[in-house]
Symmetry: C2
Subunit: 166 residues, 2 copies
């Protein structure tokens, strides 16, 4: 069984200051601090990830590093398709080659909206309706089916705004 956690990056600097350079837009100081609190809370709740895949964009990469520093994982890798408008199918390909070391695999993806919400809806309901509210530093928890494609077959067990984790 695989539990998949989709985590949106924390609060980042204004878009206006990074026109043409969105990929390097960093977390703000508040974003770093709040993401750190969330990460420590997730650690307290007992969450651990065999691996975190992150969008290569700075704000996501920084968020993933904060999660790693809090002890949530030892393995952090960039994954190109987690960048904005990336393809879910690329990640599904990756998943078919992933062997969780334990009976229950816990995976986390750090990325962007609306992509993460769209991926979650596709996995759970097989279609995108944009009905999930995923705040910055918020997260979604899905359980993937043991066999077969996870598309339209996954269960949603968690969706939380950060304010309910602080």
């Amino acid at each position: 069984m695989t539990n998949l956690y989709l985590i949106r990056h924390g609060i980042a600097a204004d878009r206006e200051a990074y026109v043409g350079h969105d990929a390097v837009r960093p977390l703000t100081e508040t974003g770093e601090r709040k993401t750190g609190k969330i990460a420590r809370r997730l650690y307290e709740l007992g969450l651990r990830f065999e691996i975190i895949l992150t969008s290569p964009l700075t704000r996501a990469r920084q968020t993933a590093e904060i999660l790693k520093e809090a002890g949530l994982t030892d393995n952090l890798e960039e994954f190109q398709s987690l960048a904005p408008a990336g393809e879910l199918s690329a990640w599904l390909d990756w998943l078919t080659h992933w062997s969780p070391p334990e009976a229950v695999g816990n995976l986390a993806l750090v990325g962007h909206q609306p992509d993460l919400g769209n991926w979650a809806e596709t996995l759970v309901w097989g279609q995108v309706r944009e009905r999930l509210v995923l705040k910055k530093a918020g997260m979604i928890g899905l359980t993937l089916p043991r066999v077969g494609s996870p598309i339209g077959q996954s269960l949603l067990f968690w969706l939380t705004p950060p304010r309910f984790l602080l």
Copy 2:
């Protein structure tokens, strides 16, 4: 704007001991204690409800009373259609007659599975797929649209198992 919270009753006594008397099956001692902790946590998080409607069944009624005792509402009413296999349409009728006293109305419903999950899926996606995992004393948070039918038009902003609230 109305935020709707769907809350499943806490851990109840074994079905086997109440065959033919399911309506009076009570919370266990553990169920009462854990539901009390959840209720206090919800209070700390700042949640307040203008009204809680509850299924008339004992385990739901007790759960709702615990929420009221924690200060989450002053108004608690039984609502027949929150009993198992109740009709969402009956609650939607009730909703059209409800005038929230504030610009943001916060409503809570206490009831049973699979009904609450089915109601939530109907409100968010317009169809039931049984893809939401709602544990005992877990909750779902929806934002209903300002105008028009909430069916297939509501947003899901929260779904949490109780363990992430303790």
